[in-house]
C-alpha cells in the first residue's frame, strides 16, 4: 500500500482487525484533544482550548512523517497523544490496529516498547542526577530486559550507534554539550528497538552544527533500522532531511500534507508558502526578500482558545486579497482537496498553485 492514504477523502475504509505489515503502523482518526481551564470562583467558568480538532493521519511501517507547525498548532500535543502521554477527548489512535487508549497489561507493556519519544529540551530530558550509562539503560532496567552485563554491552552498542564515545557512560548529563545530550536521548529511545519514534523538535534547542549532526543521525537511523519517525518541528526545511511525507498543522488541524518534496517545493496552502519563505535560508537576494514580504503571514498567531471562524488562517492569509471571493474564507471551513497524495485545506488552492507556478515566484532552492 503505497498510496499513503494520508488524507481521508471521506468516510470510508475501516482498518482490518488483525494487524499485518501491510496495514498502517499508526492511524489517527478524528482526534480531538481539549484542555479545560476553570476560572472564576469554584471553577464554574470554563475555558476550553482545543489543541487538536478532528485530526486524521496515517503512517506506514518504515515511513516517516514530518509534522510542521508553529506554537499553538498542536503538534506537540499530537506527539504526546501518540505515545500515550496525553488523554484524548474524542477520536481514535490506533497503533498496529489496536486502540491505544484501551491498552492494558501486557499489551500496554508491548506498546511502551514499540513507541518512544525524544524531547525538545536536551537538558531537561535527562535526569541530572543519574549517569549517562544508567539513563540509556533505564528502559531495559524498567522492563527487566537482560542481565546487568548484557545491559552494559547494549548501552555501549547504543553509544556507538549514535556516534558518542563509550567513555561518556560515567558522565553526568550536565557535563555534555547540547548535541551530545540529545544523542544520549536518542540512544535511550533506541534501547528497546522501537518501531516508532516521536521526535518532538529534537533540534530546536541546538546550535546549527549540532542540529545538522542530530538530523543526519536521525536520517541514517531511520534508514538502517527501518524506523518510523514522527518528526515534529517548526523549522520546515529540516523536514526534508528526515521524512518522506510532511503534514503542516495550524491551530489543531492539518492544513496540508503530502510527499515532503512536493509540500516544500510546490506548496498548495498559503500558510505553507508563508512557512517556506520565512524559513531561514542563506538567500538574501532582493527577490527573495520581496517574496518573503509578500507571502508572510500577517499579524500575530491567534489564540488557540478562540480560533477564527471559517478558515482558521484567513485573518493572517496573504493570499486572500488576491482571490475572487475572500468572504468565503471567513465563513466556511475549507475541505481538503487532494490529488496524487498531496492535499491542502484551502478554498483557493488551485489558484495558489497557479500563482506559485509563475516564474517570478520561484521558491528559493528551486532549480538549484
Amino acid at each position: 500500500m503505497t498510496s499513503g492514504g494520508l488524507l481521508r477523502p471521506g468516510p470510508g475504509q475501516e482498518p482490518t482487525a488483525a494487524w499485518s505489515p501491510a496495514c498502517q503502523l499508526l492511524s489517527v482518526r478524528d482526534l480531538t484533544v481539549e484542555f479545560r481551564n476553570s476560572e472564576g470562583m469554584f471553577g464554574r467558568r470554563h475555558r476550553v482550548l482545543r489543541a487538536l480538532d478532528g485530526l486524521s493521519l496515517d503512517l506506514q511501517a518504515g515511513q516517516s512523517i514530518a509534522v510542521v507547525g508553529e506554537s499553538g498548532s498542536g503538534k506537540t500535543t499530537l506527539g504526546r497523544v501518540i505515545c500515550r502521554l496525553q488523554r484524548i477527548t474524542a477520536g481514535q489512535v490506533l497503533f498496529r490496529g489496536q486502540d491505544v487508549r484501551a491498552l492494558r497489561g501486557a499489551d500496554l507493556a508491548r506498546f511502551r516498547r514499540s513507541v518512544q519519544i525524544i524531547f525538545q529540551d536536551p537538558y531537561a530530558s535527562l535526569d541530572p542526577r543519574i549517569r549517562v550509562g544508567s539513563i540509556i539503560a533505564e528502559p531495559l532496567t524498567v522492563n527487566r530486559i537482560g542481565t546487568a552485563v548484557e545491559r552494559r554491552a547494549k548501552v555501549a552498542d547504543l553509544l556507538d550507534t549514535v556516534g558518542l564515545p563509550r567513555s561518556l557512560t560515567r558522565r553526568f548529563p550536565h557535563e555534555l554539550s547540547g548535541g551530545q545530550r540529545q544523542r544520549v536521548a536518542i540512544a535511550r529511545a533506541l534501547a528497546l528497538s522501537p518501531q516508532l519514534i516521536i521526535a518532538d523538535e529534537p533540534t530546536s534547542a541546538l546550535d546549527v552544527s549540532a542540529q545538522a549532526q542530530v538530523l543526519s543521525l536521525l536520517d541514517s537511523l531511520r534508514r538502517e533500522l527501518s524506523l518510523s519517525l514522527v518528526y515534529i518541528t517548526h523549522n520546515l526545511p529540516t523536514a526534508a532531511y528526515v521524512a518522506d511525507r510532511a503534514a503542516v498543522m495550524y491551530l489543531g488541524r492539518i492544513i496540508e500534507s503530502g510527499p515532503v518534496t512536493d509540500v516544500l517545493l510546490s506548496p498548495r496552502h498559503p500558510y505553507t508558502v508563508a512557512l517556506c519563505t520565512a524559513a531561514p535560508t542563506l538567500d538574501s537576494a532582493e527577490r527573495a526578500v520581496a517574496r518573503r514580504h509578500q507571502t508572510e503571514a500577517r499579524g500575530e498567531p491567534p489564540d488557540p482558545a478562540s480560533p477564527p471562524a471559517g478558515c482558521r488562517f484567513h485573518p493572517r492569509c496573504w493570499f486572500r486579497p488576491q482571490v475572487p471571493d475572500g468572504a468565503r474564507c471567513a465563513q466556511t471551513e475549507p475541505e481538503t482537496r487532494a490529488s496524487g497524495g498531496h492535499g491542502a485545506a484551502c478554498h483557493f488552492s488551485h489558484l495558489l498553485q497557479e500563482w506559485t507556478a509563475k516564474p517570478g515566484c520561484q521558491e528559493p532552492g528551486r532549480g538549484t
Binding site: 516498547r113 519519544i117 524531547f119 535527562l126 535526569d127 533505564e138 522492563n143 557535563e175 546550535d207
Partner: protein, 299 residues
C-alpha cells in the same frame, strides 16, 4: 539555545564540564565557607563530647552528694553542683547525648513521615493529594508547641514520648516541601521519558523524584535540628519531657529556675550548652544553604 548569558554575580560556562557534585564534594565545599566551618567545628566538638561522655566526665552524673549541694564553681566542680550535690559539669556533658539524639530523632521522624506524605501527594495527585494536603494544613495550623504538649501529655511525660510528640508535629513542613519538589520534578521531560519507557510510579518515585528532591530536604533537616533540640528542651522545661534524674538540659534549667538568683551556675551552664549546640547547627545549616545549589525555597 545554550547561551553563555551571565547573570549578576553568577558565572555559568557554556556547557558545564565540571564533574557533578557528588556527596563527597559537599563536605569540602562546606568547610570552605565561614559559617559552615564554624558550625561544623561546634557540632563536631559537641558530638565528640557526647560520644566520649563516660571518658571525659569527671564524676558520675547521677552521684548524689547532699553535703556538696549547690556548691559554687570551683576547681573540684568546674560548673558547681546542683540541688542534690551532683557535679554539674558531668551532667551537662551527659546531657549533650540526650539533646543530640533527641533532636536528630525528631528531625528524622519528621522527614520520614513528611517524605512519604509529600511524595505520595505530589506524585499521585487528585483526591489523594487533596486529602493529604488538608490533613497537613490542619497540622500546620496548630501552634506546634501546644500540639506537641498535648500529645506528650497524652502519651505520658518521658523523653522518648516527647521526641515522638514533637516529631509528630514536625512532619507537615517536610510534606509541603517534598510535595512542592515532587510537583516540579514531575513536570520535567525526563519523567515523561521514563513513563514512555514503561516505568511505573514504583520505579519513578524512588529513582527520579526522590533523588532530585532530596537536597533541599537535607538542608531543611540541618536547619531544623537546632530548633528541634530547642523544642525538646522546652518540653522538658515544662515537665513533659525528660524526667529527673535524667540530666537533660531543659529539665536541668527547669529545676535550676528556682535557684537562679543566688546559684546562678545551675541555670547558666546548661543554658549556655544549649545555646552552643543550637548555634552550631544553625551555622552548619547556613553553610549548607550556600553550598547546596538546589536549596531554593527553604526558609
Amino acid at each position: 539555545m545554550i547561551s553563555s548569558r551571565v547573570g549578576e554575580g553568577q558565572l555559568v560556562p557554556p556547557h558545564d564540564l565540571t564533574p557533578a557534585p557528588t556527596w563527597t564534594d559537599y563536605p569540602r565545599k562546606l568547610l570552605r565557607t565561614r559559617t559552615g566551618a564554624a558550625g561544623a567545628a561546634i557540632v563536631g566538638f559537641l558530638v565528640l563530647v557526647a560520644v566520649l561522655a563516660p571518658v571525659i566526665a569527671p564524676d558520675n552524673p547521677m552521684a548524689v552528694s547532699p553535703a556538696a549541694r549547690l556548691a559554687a564553681p570551683s576547681a573540684r566542680h568546674l560548673f558547681g553542683t546542683d540541688d542534690l550535690g551532683r557535679d554539674l559539669l558531668s551532667r551537662v556533658i551527659y546531657g549533650s547525648r540526650y539533646s543530640l539524639a533527641g533532636g536528630v530523632s525528631i528531625v528524622l521522624i519528621g522527614t520520614l513521615v513528611g517524605l512519604v506524605v509529600g511524595l505520595i501527594a505530589g506524585y499521585a495527585g487528585g483526591w489523594l493529594d487533596e486529602a493529604l494536603m488538608r490533613v497537613t494544613d490542619v497540622f500546620l495550623a496548630f501552634p506546634s508547641l501546644i500540639l506537641a504538649m498535648a500529645v506528650a501529655a497524652a502519651l505520658g511525660p518521658s523523653l522518648v514520648n516527647a521526641v515522638i510528640a514533637i516529631g509528630a508535629v514536625w512532619w507537615p513542613w517536610y510534606a509541603r516541601l517534598v510535595r512542592g519538589q515532587t510537583l516540579r520534578i514531575r513536570s520535567q521531560p525526563f519523567i515523561a521519558a521514563a513513563v514512555v519507557s514503561g516505568a511505573r510510579g514504583r520505579h519513578i518515585v524512588p529513582n527520579h523524584i526522590l533523588r532530585n528532591a532530596i537536597s533541599p530536604v537535607i538542608v531543611q533537616m540541618s536547619l531544623d535540628v537546632g530548633y528541634a533540640i530547642l523544642t525538646l528542651a522546652g518540653l522538658s522545661f515544662i515537665g513533659l519531657g525528660a524526667q529527673p534524674p535524667t540530666p537533660e538540659w531543659g529539665s536541668m534549667i527547669s529545676v535550676g529556675r528556682d535557684y537562679y538568683l543566688s546559684q546562678w551556675w545551675f541555670v547558666t551552664f546548661p543554658g549556655l550548652a544549649l545555646l552552643l549546640m543550637v548555634t552550631g547547627f544553625i551555622l552548619l545549616s547556613d553553610g549548607l544553604l550556600t553550598v547546596v545549589p538546589s536549596s531554593r525555597g527553604i526558609t
